[in-house]
Symmetry: C2
Subunit: 472 residues, 2 copies
């Protein structure tokens, strides 16, 4: 295994990388090292070299070289991750997949798209919508995030309530294994019962088991009609009760998003969208259908349950532009919170839906006890919330409180039958909690699994597994 | 690794098994060995002892003992599998999970059921339907098959077109690893991005990586209205063109099932349901919706496309009893074909939907060339067909033709971008074709994976991987 961070790479390694990709796609300047040192967390660590491959063969060559010299390799999509998964924490090679950004095929007969990992999520969505198809996963960073990163972290998003997460859309993968072999798992067919399900093992493996170089994604028919509704509640608790009532009624909105009062105020300061500043909480609903009449009656049914649960107002967006404005506000939460204080630690806990009210109460209690503002928002219909701790990393005492509060929130989620991460992954941020979340046997099994894919531990090591070092 | 079949088990092993489960759940009589020697293929091989555990702890003890003595263990649900997956081909211990058949919980708040592996698929469906919920996967053997077996083979069924396969419904598993550790993977929550996705690795692993002892299954709201339609076509080709047209139109029936003329005639002989004996092929559609008006208009839209593609008649079932009769006929195919000739070899190839017409043409050509009746039926909407070779195993010359024809059908499916198995698994029947289907690197990776879970190779070994021995 690779220990610590190597000081410099041997010159023959740089020369070999240049021979694989050409000099213009092997970057070594100090500015480039800074540009590839971070993701959307606060963790930073520069690589020693950045390589921008154009195909699986080049990646295979790079990985074989890295094995020969035992050099760490950190794969990277758009760098928009929220768990440190793409940060080259051990230095070495940052393998940036941004040039592999072609949509290779949109196959309407089989309802699949074949893409390279650097394709931006939003670009894929726009391309398939032009032919009446739909790729639902929609992480909030979808205008920046790359499909390869979505695969690595098993990205979710607001629409996952109705439509599922990234892994539900992965039909086939071309993968370069850490040792350089190129394999193809899955296919355009719907059903496969031929050997172990490797494709879903690579999804969510955070780039530690292989590098995905070609992705076949299932597409579904684009719903014809959409509607957005906004319900205002006096408290987060009453909003979370409404969520469980709606889901138990058999209604299935595409999205049910929650924002608490602090989140609402941060967003309105950053990007005013007319959200109700005095609301204890709001729920933002997306509904869709192929039938306008059904959409109207289901929207009214959702509104009715909200009112019964104490909503003070329910507003249905009048048109597409109001629709878009509300969803832009939702996606602005993360940058809005980031402006409030110098730093933020965003969590991504996921619990069974029925535990939502208790989770919300518990977070409120932790926030008070540690005297930390913890705005809460997220995919309430899924039980996947993002409590964010706003803080200043220059204040060590505050950071101790942040660490303690985050630990309590993790433990609360686990106690409620939930887990550390719903859609951001473990990366560097949450690795020290893996033993508590999964138990020693399971973590050990995962370590053994990693070792058969990557015997030299070159690929994105130091992540996902506990190492005894806190990366905060 | 375990070579060949041990002659007898040491008496102390029997005594130790009796100490774990009690004498009444450790079976040793010759009659019992016969009763646990087969599944729904023609492959038979008796175990040396049958153990009927009641919980994960007993299973853990049995597996630890088996490791100590290097005794093969073959887990077994209802024995209704179609690939030899539960046949104790290496002898040793048959681990029958039939007594672990409790539905432990139906949690309506989180829309999940928690069950033991021996629960019969149909019993689970009936139980959840009573509270307005729905567990869609419906293998044809659903009245016999156990959920544990459905997990092992990643079972599908007719409704998978709209609703997906077993793996799409697995939220959490308790698994006894081959070495005896008990792990819990997943949970009641919808989204998990915490470490490698082990739960979906166990699904479809054919009981080679662990024994699933508790299963948390996602449930969905039960659709309020259902309808069945039957369309008659002059040829299989015209029927398969209709399938691709319907799917491209954006309509999504729950099921589109195909039967060719020979299949129709076999079923009518066995269990008359009024199917049209002179039809070249028929398509059986299930449609469902929460809205009656939509169901009517979508059924009419399907009928219209069928007529445009040359259907000679389209009949919509008048009521639930006609509905049930048609679906009983569909599920009777396998037993009906089994009566035609002494044996049958049922295939389970899966191809991209667009390749369906070419696949059907190719199978017809192979049937003629080898002078073998090969009735074709299956889940046409999925591209998952079951060509069945009717034969007599006592005729070695015929069996040579069967083997050659089956090989050609596998190769045809792979050439069309498809695979060996869509929902029955590889087991013993298809293992020799794994290298052609997946390539040496991928099979080798799967072997390494198996070895970290099961270092002594005690659990269901000799299956799934090529061994150079044809089990036909």
């Amino acid at each position: 295994m690779i220990e610590g961070k190597p000081k410099t790479l041997p010159p023959e390694v740089i020369a070999a990388l240049q021979a694989i990709t050409g000099t213009e796609r092997t970057l070594t300047s100090p500015e480039d090292m800074v540009a590839y040192s971070y993701d959307a967390t606060w963790i930073e660590s520069p690589p020693q070299v950045v390589v921008l491959p154009k195909n699986a063969t080049e990646i295979s060559e790079v990985l074989k070289l890295a094995n020969r010299y035992k050099i760490p390799v950190a794969p990277r999509g758009a760098g928009s991750g929220l768990s440190g998964g793409s940060v080259p924490q051990q230095g070495g090679i940052a393998l940036a997949l941004t040039l592999m950004n072609r949509i290779l095929e949109i196959d309407t007969e089989n309802s699949v798209a074949v893409v390279e990992p650097g394709v931006i999520t939003f670009a894929l969505q726009k391309a398939v919508e032009k032919v009446g198809l739909f790729y639902p996963p929609d992480p909030s960073s979808l205008k920046q995030s790359a499909i390869g990163g979505n695969i690595a972290e098993n990205a979710g998003g607001a629409r996952c309530l109705k439509y599922g997460v990234t892994s539900d859309y992965v039909r086939a993968l071309e993968v370069v294994l850490p040792t350089g072999e190129i394999i193809h798992t899955g296919g355009k067919m719907v059903k496969i019962a031929t050997g172990y399900n490797l494709r879903h093992l690579f999804v969510g493996a955070e780039g530690t088991l292989g590098i995905v170089t070609r992705i076949t994604l299932k597409l579904i028919p684009l719903p014809k009609y959409k509607r957005t509704a906004l319900a205002t509640f006096p408290t987060v608790e009453s909003a979370s009760v409404a969520v469980t009532q709606i889901m138990e009624s058999g209604l299935l909105p595409a999205s049910i998003e929650l924002m608490d009062n602090l989140t609402i105020r941060c967003v309105e300061e950053f990007k005013p969208a007319g959200l109700p500043l005095d609301a204890g909480a709001l729920l933002l609903f997306a509904l869709d259908s192929n039938y306008e009449q059904i959409l109207l009656s289901e929207t009214e049914a959702v509104a009715q349950i909200c009112r019964e649960c104490g909503a003070t107002s329910v507003r249905v967006a009048a048109d597409d532009s109001e629709n878009d404005k509300l969803w832009e506000a939702r996606r602005a939460i993360s940058p809005a919170l980031a402006r409030r204080r110098p730093n933020k630690l965003g969590e991504d806990i996921s619990v069974p839906r029925s535990a939502l009210p208790e989770l919300v109460r518990g977070i409120g209690e932790i926030s008070e006890r540690y005297k930390l503002p913890i705005p809460v928002f997220g995919h309430a219909g899924d039980g996947n919330l993002h409590p964010n701790m706003l803080c200043d990393r220059r204040d060590p005492q505050e950071m101790e409180r942040v660490h303690a509060a985050a630990t309590e929130i993790f433990r609360l989620a686990i106690r409620l039958g939930g887990t550390l991460s719903g859609e951001h992954g473990i990366g560097l941020l949450k690795k020290e909690f893996m033993l508590e979340a999964l138990g020693a046997e399971q973590v050990e099994l995962m370590r053994r699994l990693k070792s058969i894919f990557d015997p030299n531990g070159i690929l994105n090591s130091g992540k996902l597994f506990p190492t005894g070092e806190n990366s905060w």
